[in-house]
Subunit: 336 residues, 2 copies
Amino acid sequence: MSVSSNHQVVLKSRPVGVPQAHHFEIREADVPDLRDGEFLVRNEFLSVDPAMRGWVNAAANYSQPVQVGEVMRAFAAGRVVTSRHPDYPEGTAVMGLLGWQEFAVSDGSNIRRKIKETDLSLSLSLGVLGLNGITAYFGLTAAGEPQQGETVVVSTAAGAVGSIVGQLARLHGCRTVGITGGETKRRLCLDEFGYDAAIDYREPGLEAALREACPDGVDVYFDNTSGPISDTVLPMINRHARIVICGTASIQNWDPWPQGPRVDRLLLNKSARMMGFLAFDYEHRYEEAIAFLAPLVREGKLHFREEILDGLEAAPGSIADLYESRNLGKRLIRLI
Amino acid sequence: MSVSSNHQVVLKSRPVGVPQAHHFEIREADVPDLRDGEFLVRNEFLSVDPAMRGWVNAAANYSQPVQVGEVMRAFAAGRVVTSRHPDYPEGTAVMGLLGWQEFAVSDGSNIRRKIKETDLSLSLSLGVLGLNGITAYFGLTAAGEPQQGETVVVSTAAGAVGSIVGQLARLHGCRTVGITGGETKRRLCLDEFGYDAAIDYREPGLEAALREACPDGVDVYFDNTSGPISDTVLPMINRHARIVICGTASIQNWDPWPQGPRVDRLLLNKSARMMGFLAFDYEHRYEEAIAFLAPLVREGKLHFREEILDGLEAAPGSIADLYESRNLGKRLIRLI
């Protein structure tokens, strides 16, 4: 395949808080000739992730910020179209940090994995069989360590990660309680993701609803929100509870750093632990998660939702919605 | 030994915050006749611990509060003086929750351990060879998991627990940084407990001093304070840092619950964990800790300080001082 022109979404200005469409611009760029050891990937699906806010903000985070003028950092899935790399022949399906662009030149260093499940849509490798599934799998099992009969509470329970956490926790024999925003998502939690109870945090009485849904207290809290939801859950933890911090979606801005109830005494009173969880720490074990999840997907035992937007021009405005709970399922940009 | 009269320190009124002398009174009580399965302990040393504030306050804690009119809950060490229990013959040295009193009737259920190290003062079984040493040993090794070459920061670094944590961390090959109140204790940290650096948190410039003392960041933070000291340490943690919450001495009152900077994002950015640590969770492994610590004490390789007050009448006023950093070393009441 001969490719001479590429379209890319680049960061135009640095946002404070949630990135909006106007922080990006689409530019046309040449596709350079490949050197030995390189290959060209045609992206088929681009990922839209809450973590992107952290990637473009200036504050120190778990990765270096994207610079203004650079292609927006993003996971993408596609196929190798031309190759001068022996390990990535033409036709290889790959997932990696290929950026918000149509074509990406790679030397393999930004590839996360070769996609083996080519009987399924490549989009799954950005969701349930990608970092969402991997995050849910290790975040729940390795950090949360759920035991049969325990109560697992999940915030952003209908989200791309949370919905998998809830289903995996049920497979572990746990009582699962989902917290989500709005009646549509609450029904989704009950009807599609199999939660034992689901709570709309926008309704009044979150604390009472949680107490009713968790008559035996909370053993594992898988959190993607921080803020008032966590402040309500944490006083209900049981002895030896495990709190997995996977995201902080309810906090729009960390400058100035927000205050909340001190948690150290809660952890001390209950010999509990709170752990920050980053899927990258489990990079050497990704295939273990996918080998567990893929059969469940094929057998229809693991439900998931995708929300697919068409065309590169949908990308710039696609992050802000995630923070307003307007998406239902894993958000993706389809390019071809 | 025939005993007919006992003196006890009982809780007279429930304090809010730090218990003062006037919250207690000393009363004379009869020593009841022993029944089968009971034995009488003559307490030689009574312990004074920061945890006592939690034991007498009304708020839910990790143990039920002492009721007004009850003997003050306390660890004590003594010897069996009369016995109708086959496992505790006369002369047995014991440590347990025997209360702030001269004599305690026990059926064994409140005994924590039989003291084997009778070549050393029984007072040690309330400090370096008691819960202080056990807390330091498991809190550092099991919860903190120090690795050679890492930096370990200890708050209340000159205290009964902290001073042992610092010395054990050095034995693990760590750089040790102590935080303490006042120049006297700071010198003690450097000269007696072997910290690589020691900081007086009462002096201005805590943050700058910490940064200078921890050029490679903080891998383990063993905390007994909560509050502003922790707020200064936590932003300096490294990837995969372990924060061990052993106490919250700087917080005088948890009603209303105090606010502080949210820690979840710090933990997430660094894949770090914060754990509440209660020594009781390791009760089945106490002897392992003491078997490690006792030889170090005998060989003079583990330094400790005791601050011994004489007579039961010293007990009621002995807690408040702990919260004003007026004590140097493990505080004890000597009865005989």
